[in-house]
Symmetry: C2
Subunit: 346 residues, 2 copies
Amino acid sequence: MPRKATSQDVADLAGVSRSAVSLVLNGRGAGNIAADKQALIVAAAQQLNYTPNTVALSLRSRRSSTIGVVTDAIATSAFGGQLLEGAADVAVAEGYLLLVIDTQNDLGRERRAYETLQNRQVDGFLFAAMSLRAYDVPTALRSATCALANCFDPADSAPAFIPDEVAGSRAVTQHLIDRGHRDIVMLTGTSDVVASGLREQGFAEAVAMAGLQVPGPVTAGWEIDKGYAAAMHVLSGDRPPTAIVCANDRSAVGVVLAAAHLGLSVPGELSVVGYDDDENVAPCLVPALTTVRLPHREMGERAMRVVLDRVLDDTPASAVSETRPALRTLLDCPLVIRESVAPPSR
Amino acid sequence: MPRKATSQDVADLAGVSRSAVSLVLNGRGAGNIAADKQALIVAAAQQLNYTPNTVALSLRSRRSSTIGVVTDAIATSAFGGQLLEGAADVAVAEGYLLLVIDTQNDLGRERRAYETLQNRQVDGFLFAAMSLRAYDVPTALRSATCALANCFDPADSAPAFIPDEVAGSRAVTQHLIDRGHRDIVMLTGTSDVVASGLREQGFAEAVAMAGLQVPGPVTAGWEIDKGYAAAMHVLSGDRPPTAIVCANDRSAVGVVLAAAHLGLSVPGELSVVGYDDDENVAPCLVPALTTVRLPHREMGERAMRVVLDRVLDDTPASAVSETRPALRTLLDCPLVIRESVAPPSR
DNA sequence: CTGAAAGCGCTTACAG
DNA sequence: CTGAAAGCGCTTACAG
């Protein structure tokens, strides 16, 4: 790679000092440098294709224009990318870049990730979980600028942006009730996932609010085959429901497949709703799936926004604790209505 | 954030010079620094929790220990994460971190991405495509250290690591033939995707090799509903096939669903195979899907390996062209046998 | 209005 | 065996 031009090169070519180059190129030439020299400098910079060396800038300013992102399992999820993309877009708009390290849920790796990132002089941290969960912010980071996306600190030591799972689940259940359903069963995910319980809660609230008896949830899981098996069980019972609320979109695929095997048309004889608005599944299932959208992109954007605002503010550490934003911000999970819901046939 | 300790702090605490600290901490103390001072320095470093400032290191060494990764659409794909994870793991093992920028397939963003990365003094570049394609390496990078993952330069200006799509498709088709199928139809993806044509080719080769007539492929697409519609069409024809080769796993979901609607059991009356080994689909479809695994992780690992080897070698630029590795490396796409294939029933 | 100096934190020749 | 100096590329007071 041909060595990049430095400000010295520009100064030499323009016949001025490095200081002058710096001043002019940073918009502080007016009133400091003669107009003709300014033009010379600009031309020289252009000619040499000069851009300042970010590393040198960082050393001097003691700012790296880099945010460290620690994530627990990015590869597992198709959603990880959206969260990260939202965060990256916000960062890039401010001239920031992301250094992301995936810990694969390994505590040792996590500790090393923070060390590595700290050595790289990142200006702030973002922790992003691929599935909603509690996350204990390491004490070493308590004094650093950081925010959480799709997770929250039980001790609330950092601002967190999480989906309003309860409201989302309530809304999609309510949608079913509004269309006339009275016999609704929920197929839940696994209890190790925080969202599972929250979605159950939203379901129960909507059902109870409608004056219906809350049926015991049926544990299914998150995969196609889990939804399939649970649906086979539920739909073969003595009093099958007219609608099924699934733990997520993939489980809904299993339900739709089970209905097909049972000769039940969807949504004619059975309404089905999912959760996630998984772009690879929901819009192209047959029929297209009514579901709830998880605000992954927004979580990334919002969390990065608060980190950046603090970093850019450059508030002295002492003033930081004064104006903390709301510690846990619940983000809307909008209902996405498609074709998998119809009024009950009986 | 409390200011990190510097080597000066360590030197002060140990009562020596910065040079001594540097020497000892970099393992060059023996024969240079007295044993007792060495101990003092190590102790001081430990006590202050000293780690060198990577930014300062970079400025001096003119190496950033960072590789720039430019990607075309990471968020769209569940696979993007695996490729990146493979690349990141290889990089981290060498003390390298990744700066990844997604261009969202926008040429302007791509140009700016390279500029940004170059300003950040990255030591090398990786370009990763989310879907196999041709990629013209910008001339500005011709002299830089770079490699391609899941894409290739038509001008072969950089080493590329891509999946052997033809062989993968051939193998899965052969598997069907081995199990006795003679009436096999392929549902293809869309022609804008390079892999589509390659998979067609592999299919045609296997069929021809078995002495069978090659049926015209049926264009379906990559989504569940596309596979569904195409399967409905093909299976309702006068002479339905006994097996269907799908463009990818998601399309196979549609095929399985269509079969269910038609009362055809899979694999009893219809065998179905996919492509991708999408972890969210293939292992948990009902029945679990026989498919072909795309080597995403390997592409990331291999491409990063060659970038790093060159960077670490520090070969003078002049010597680089001498020992170039094979320019396009085809990576194996292994057949993954599960439950969706059985001998034909007629 | 402009140039020389200092310093961000580090390592590596180079004197002593 | 050890410390002082130089330099990576930049910007910002500070003299002139």
